[in-house]
């Protein structure tokens, strides 16, 4: 790895790490309401309940907070789309649904957040619901993490007991109930409209958009769907203001972000740093590559974000920086792989994942991931041919942008980026299997003996 010891480890404006969401995680029983309130918890809620809801929407717009679930949609704008008013669409009940169905390969930030500091999520839910005038909030937690469910459910119970949930919260006249809901094992349920279908007791398959959830969401009523980390960030913005929030991160990607670094590094884990931090800076924080074995490839934000290589150590890890090099910020799930890992093998494993999790609703994704898995398995068994590479790219071309939801787009990311940077590695697997374009093999396949 080409790590230069002289490169500046800090971004100019702030410390290399900026614990905001992770600030309370070291405190004893950080998940309890006592610890949370001792450390200024629920102060933002009081400030919010004293304000006009539209002030809060404006604040979040001003802060530039972008969704932490992968797509990076401006949260304040999303809230602003909820129709308000006494009659028409604004008269319907409105809902807040928290997407806690963390399942993108590499992503492991919401689970530790919900375990360590569930009250920041609950306080965020109260403020967000007040802002969009929702009186019911659902937290959809993936089923495979009962310990998160316990912690979140306990936090909800504690918040009810303290009078922060229920009717007429702290005499404000605002009512809110929160229901903690367990999923049942499905990656696609993390897609916002599939999540709504799942929450309605159906198979988790995406809906055609438009209409968007802001107008027709849960039970066809106006609904805000936000990621755990997004909602948990809200109380800090209410307390500190948009200027403070913008003092971290970059112009278009402001704020702190939990980077989850995993794989072949010395100290994997959760590192909260300003958006725009580079992998080179993160690698210095995590103590470098494990056993000094050089970096080969990595993902900036989960398996659905195109792979990057050692050339990309200085790419600012924000929404713009990653897009500029043809990838995406995703969930800042940084999976780091060293030189011992075969790219075609890793791509095969991810493609098997997408095939398993494809919901089956649309043909390009359902059929495409099935055939891509077969081709990749064949290549890894060293039974592929050089033309398989082009076949895969052709199949990917028929999935990307042609699927019902982003799962299909995500499924082709590892393949197209893997071939882009490591084509020779795919071809090397085919050395023992010459292409069928060779005449004698074609004749044999056709049953004609030369």
């Amino acid at each position: 790895m080409t790590q230069s010891p002289t490169s500046p480890p800090t971004s100019p404006r702030t410390s290399p790490l900026t614990p905001v969401l992770t600030r309370r995680w070291l405190s004893p029983r950080s998940w309890s309401i006592d610890t949370y309130t001792q450390l200024e918890g629920y102060a933002a809620m009081r400030k919010a309940l004293d304000s006009h809801p539209d002030q809060l929407i404006q604040l979040i717009k001003d802060s530039g907070l972008r969704g932490r679930g992968g797509a990076g949609f401006p949260a304040g704008m999303k809230w602003g789309f909820i129709p308000q008013g006494e009659d028409g669409p604004g008269a319907k009940p409105k809902y807040l649904v928290v997407n806690a169905d963390e399942g993108e390969p590499g992503t492991c930030k919401d689970v530790p957040l919900m375990m360590a500091d569930p009250h920041s999520l609950i306080e965020g839910c109260i403020i967000t619901s007040y802002a969009v005038r929702a009186h019911e909030c659902f937290i959809y937690v993936r089923g495979e993490v009962p310990h998160c469910l316990r912690r979140v459910r306990n936090a909800v119970d504690e918040a009810y007991a303290a009078g922060y949930l229920g009717s007429d919260i702290l005499g404000s006249g605002f009512d809110l109930d929160i229901v903690v809901h367990a999923g049942a094992g499905c990656y696609e349920a993390g897609e916002e409209t599939a999540l709504l279908d799942s929450l309605e007791g159906r198979t988790a398959q995406p809906r055609l958009k438009p209409p968007f959830p802001a107008t027709k969401g849960l039970y066809s009523a106006p609904t805000v769907v936000n990621n755990v980390e997004t909602i948990a960030t809200v109380p800090y913005i209410v307390s500190g203001g948009s200027e403070w929030f913008r003092s971290m991160g970059t112009e278009k990607s402001p704020g702190p972000k939990i980077y989850s670094v995993s794989g072949h590094v010395e100290r994997p884990g959760q590192y909260e740093a300003p958006l725009g931090t580079t992998l080179r800076e993160l690698l210095e924080l995590v103590g470098g590559m494990r056993d000094g074995i050089p970096l080969k490839f990595w993902t900036p934000g989960g398996s659905s974000t195109p792979l990057l290589t050692a050339e990309h150590l200085d790419v600012p890890l924000d929404f713009e920086g990653t897009a500029e090099v043809g990838s995406m910020l995703g969930t800042t799930a940084i999976m780091v792989f060293n030189e011992t890992v075969s790219v075609p093998w890793a791509v095969m494993k991810w493609t098997e994942f997408y095939k398993h999790e494809s919901c089956g609703k649309c043909t390009p994704c359902r059929e495409g991931t099935y055939w891509l898995t077969h081709i990749l398995q064949r290549m890894v068994r060293r039974e592929g041919t050089p033309s398989d590479v082009d076949t895969m790219l052709d199949v990917c071309d028929n999935i990307l942008g042609r699927s019902f939801c982003a799962l299909g787009d995500g499924a082709v990311s590892p393949i197209t980026s893997g071939i882009k940077y490591f084509r020779q590695e795919f071809l090397d697997l085919c050395k023992e299997q010459p292409d069928v374009a060779q005449p004698e093999q074609q004749a044999e396949l056709a049953g004609v003996r030369p």
């Binding site: 790490l17 614990p19 600030r23 993108e104 469910l149 094992g185 403070w244 959760q270 398993h356």
Partner: protein, 292 residues
């Protein structure tokens, strides 16, 4: 079990779990009435002659407690299926009919959901469920090897245990169902194994074999992150939203959750004195924007 006591104080005190006012239900019905799928979703079939007596009064009561949590009754289906699994250890045809009857759905509608989600098991499962992550990152760090060796250990070298197969008689003490699963959201702690969905982080082949051996002997090893092990069916009861008495929930809530990996960034920042910029003493909210 204790979590099913009728006087569940947390639930009854929790307004979210009380029946909602008629007007709210009506509003929700009106809202949902706009979906195109209403007609085709209308239950038309006759109940099948399937014996659902395994679901006793207690289960019926719990099932009915789930429904009023939600504006629309069908939302209760996923938790209700977890409840069914906590009773039977899998979802049988009787379980499907039971849920259909409780929610006014067809068995086809329930079956579609059961077969869609991977946590619903269609055949009787073991006292414990062992899930091994074999997604790319865990696999690269040893997850594939762990899954292969556990299959051999729980089955035999010639006939390793396959996906969702069980060592021992399903439901009996010490029986173990094995599965490989997709990403478990603990990549910084790879390779990861779960028992009854409680985390056993940073496993090796040796530690994982020790783990399943202990489970087979009837022992209950302590998870790295999560509540002390009971059984997979007990966990399913919690996934249905029933956590037991407050003191039972509190003890489980306080079970360990953090690892060095969870804290590593926060600790490093503390050691180096790194902080986020200080918040201003007073940050007024923006004025109420003018309506366009």
């Amino acid at each position: 079990m204790s979590s099913a006591e009728p006087e569940h104080p947390v639930d009854s005190a929790n307004p979210a779990f009380r029946a909602r006012p008629a007007d709210a239900a009506q509003a929700a019905d009106q809202a949902s009435g706009e979906t195109l799928s209403t007609l085709q979703d209308a239950p038309v079939e006759q109940p099948l002659p399937v014996d659902t007596s395994v679901f006793d009064e207690q289960t019926v009561r719990l099932a009915r407690e789930i429904v009023p949590r939600y504006p629309g009754s069908r939302s209760a289906l996923l938790p209700m299926l977890h409840l069914v699994q906590s009773v039977q250890g899998h979802i049988s045809q009787a379980g499907i009919v039971f849920c259909a009857q409780q929610l006014g759905l067809t068995t086809a509608q329930v079956s579609a959901v059961v077969t869609f989600y991977s946590m619903y098991k269609r055949k009787p499962s073991g006292e414990h469920l062992v899930s091994v992550c074999t997604n790319a990152l865990c696999a690269a760090l040893g997850g594939d090897e762990i899954y292969a060796r556990l299959g051999e250990r729980l089955g035999s070298a010639e006939a390793p245990l396959g996906q969702e197969e069980t060592a021992g008689e399903p439901g009996t003490p010490g029986s173990v169902t094995l599965e490989h699963v997709e990403c478990l959201a603990a990549c910084d702690l790879a390779p990861v194994v779960q028992v009854n969905y409680e985390y056993f982080d940073k496993q090796t082949v040796e530690s994982a074999i020790e783990l399943v051996d202990a489970l087979r002997r009837g022992e209950r090893p302590v998870p790295t992150r999560g509540a002390p092990l009971t059984s997979w069916r007990d966990t399913e009861m919690q996934l249905a939203g029933f956590f037991g008495e407050p003191e039972v929930l509190q003890a489980a809530v306080d079970a360990p959750s953090t690892s060095e990996e969870t804290m590593v960034g926060a600790r490093l920042a503390e050691r180096r004195g790194w902080q986020a910029p200080p918040m201003p003493d007073d940050s007024p909210l923006p004025p109420v924007p003018d309506k366009k």
